[in-house]
Point group: none
DNA sequence: CATGAATGAGCGTTCATTCAT
DNA sequence: GATGAATGAACGCTCATTCAT
C-alpha cells in the first residue's frame, strides 16, 4: 500500500521551519526548510499544500504547544491560587526553554501570512491560559472591564516578563515573580 | 551619491513605505514603494542605500513620531499626575489616529531586518515616554524591580490598551481609562 | 516490468488521457491521468514506459479508432459511389460523436511529442480512408497529381467540414453534404 | 529619461520565441527564449507580462505577418483573377520561406494557450486573405454555402498545399498550381 | 540628479519518474 | 503487480539593485 505519509516527517518539517524562520525570518526558503528536515524539496509540498499553509498550521501548532506546556499538571480541582501559580511558572518556563518558538510565533502573529480565521483559532486556543489567569478579575477592581481586555493585558504582561527573563536570565526567577505580582496587584 | 537634495522626496518615500508595508508586509517591493511615493525606482536608492537601510531609518522615524506625539504639550513643570495623564492620552490618541504606523512598527520590531543597534536606539527614543510613566514606581511596590522591567510592562499594557481601543472604538475612551488605571494599580 | 496483466487498465489510462488532454492540453500531469483512470500514479508507468510512449501509442490508437469508425460496414464489393458515401458519413459522424478524440489527435499531430516514425505510421493507417476517397482521382482532372497530394487535400477538406459541422451542429447534415460535393467537384 | 523600451528587443524576443518553439515546442523555457534573444531572463517580462501573453501576441503577430506577405502588391483595382493568382502565390511563397513561423502558428492554434478572443482576432486578420479567395464562390456552386465554410475549406486546401510543397520542394511550383486549380474547380 | 529598463540570482511550486511497502 | 510517497531538476516569475540615458 505504498509508503504511508509519515507523521514524523510532518513534524520534522515543522521543527525545521521553526529553526529556519528563527534564523532567516519568514523568507526562509522552503527548499532550506525541507533540507533541514531531511526531506526533498518536493516532499514539503506533499505535507503542506503551500508555504502559507505550512505557516498557518505551524502557528496553530505552536500556540497549542505553548498552551499544553502552560497547562501541564494544572488540576481543575486545585485551589485557584495554586493553579494560577503553576500555570504562570509553566508558561514562563516554556518561554525560557523554547525562545525560538516564541520568536517565530511573534513573527507569524504580525505577518500577513496568517489568515484571520487562523488568528482567531489561535486566540481561542489561548483561551485555556487566559481564562484561568483572568478569572481573578471577576471580584476585583477590573470586574467591569471586558474580559477580552483583561486577557489582552495579561498576555501583554506575560510577554514583557518573558522578554525580561530572557534578556537577564541570571535573575529569571525574580522577574518571573515580579510579573505575577504586578498582575495580581492589577486585578485584585 | 552625495547628499540628495530633496527632503520632501525622502519623506514621501517613508510615507509610501508605511502604506505599502501595511498593505503587503515587509515584502512590499521597493519599486512599489517608489511608485507610491511618486518617485522613480532608482531614486529610492539615492535616498536610501538599500531596502534594509530604509527599513532601519523608518523604524527610528516612526518611534520618534510616536514619542513626539505622546510628549506634545507635556510640560516639565506641570505636576506629575497631570503630565502622566496627558502623555498617556496623547499616546493612545496617536495609536488611534495612525494605526498603520503602529502596525508597521510592530512588523519591523519582530522582523530580522532591524539591526540590534537600531533596535537599541529605538528603545532609547522610547525613554522619553517610559521614563515618565515609570517614574511612579520609585516609591511604589515595584521600587525594587529593575527599571527596564517596569518599562517593558508599561509598554506592554499600553500596547494591549491600544489594541483594544482599536478593536472596539466605540468605547475607546473607557478602555483608555481602564489601561492607565490598571497601570496605576500595578505600580503604586 | 514484463507484460502487465490488465488490458482494461491500459485502455482506462488511454481514455483518461484523452479526457485530461482535452481539458488541460499535453501538459496534463501523468498523476492526473492515472487518477482519472482509477489507477495509481506508478501504475501508469507499468503500462507505458514514459509519458511520451503513452502519447505515441495514444496517437496510433486514436487514428485506428477513427479509421475503424469510418470504414465500418464499407464493403469492398459495393459500388464505388456507395462506398464513398458511407465512408464519408461514417467519418463525419465519428468526428461529431468524439470531438475530444479529434481535438487530442490534432494536438498530438502538431506537438513534438510524436516521433516521426509514429507520425508515418499514423499516415499509413489513414491510408484506408484516403485510398478510397482518393480513388476517384485516377480518372479525373487530378490524375497527374501525386497521390499524396490528393490525400492531403481530401484530409484537409474533411477536417474543415468537421470543424464546421461542430461549430454549427444544427445544420450538420447540410455541411456534411457540402463537404463531399466540394471534394467531388475537385476530383472528377 | 532612462533607457526607453526598445522595439528591437521586443521583436528580438518574438523572433527568438519562434525559433525556440519550433525546436522545443510550447514548453520552450522563457529563460531560453530570453537568452536566444540576447536579453536577461527578467527582461522578457518587461516586454510581456507573462509567457502566455507573449504567446498570444506572437500568434497575432504571425498571423499579421502571414497576411501582410500574402497581400503584398495585391491591388484592389486589378482584375479579380490576377489578384487571386498573386495572393495565392504570395501566400505559398511565405509558407516556403518561413516554415518555422508556420509550424509555430499551427502549434499555437491548437494549444490551449491562446485565449478565445485572440483566436477570434486571428481569424479576423485572416479575413483579408480569405475574403478575396472566397469571393469567387458567390457565383459558383457554393453560392449557398455559408461564407465561413468556404473560408475553412480554402484555408484547409491552402494548408495542404503548403505541406506538400514543403515535403517535395523540387516540384513546389507544380503543387502550388495544383492547389489553386483544385480550389477553382471546387468553387466555380 | 532623475528615470525606469536591464540584470540575474533566487524562490515557490510542479511533475515525470522511482522505489519502499 | 499495485500503490502513492519521495525525489529533485526544472520552470515561470519576482525584485533588489545597477546603470545607460
Amino acid at each position: 500500500m505504498a509508503r504511508p505519509r509519515s507523521d514524523d516527517k510532518r513534524s520534522a518539517i515543522m521543527a525545521a521551519a521553526v529553526r529556519a524562520i528563527d534564523r532567516q525570518g519568514l523568507r526562509a526558503p522552503t527548499a532550506l526548510i525541507a533540507k533541514e528536515a531531511g526531506v526533498a524539496t518536493g516532499s514539503l509540498f506533499t505535507y503542506f499544500e503551500a508555504k502559507s499553509v505550512l505557516f498557518n498550521e505551524l502557528y496553530v501548532e505552536l500556540k497549542r504547544d505553548m498552551v499544553a506546556a502552560a497547562t501541564e499538571g494544572v488540576r481543575t480541582d486545585a485551589p485557584l491560587p495554586e493553579r494560577w501559580h503553576l500555570l504562570w511558572s509553566n508558561w514562563m518556563r516554556w518561554a525560557l526553554r523554547f525562545p525560538q518558538k516564541r520568536r517565530v510565533l511573534a513573527q507569524l502573529e504580525v505577518s500577513d501570512e496568517i489568515a484571520p480565521a487562523t488568528l482567531a483559532r489561535g486566540h481561542q486556543i489561548m483561551g485555556d491560559i487566559l481564562d484561568l489567569l483572568g478569572s481573578a478579575h471577576v471580584h476585583g477592581p477590573m470586574r467591569e472591564t471586558p474580559y477580552a481586555f483583561v486577557a489582552a493585558v495579561v498576555n501583554a504582561v506575560a510577554e514583557a516578563t518573558m522578554d525580561f527573563m530572557l534578556s537577564d536570565p541570571a535573575n529569571a526567577e525574580r522577574h518571573c515573580q515580579a510579573g505575577v505580582e504586578a498582575l495580581s496587584r492589577m486585578m485584585k
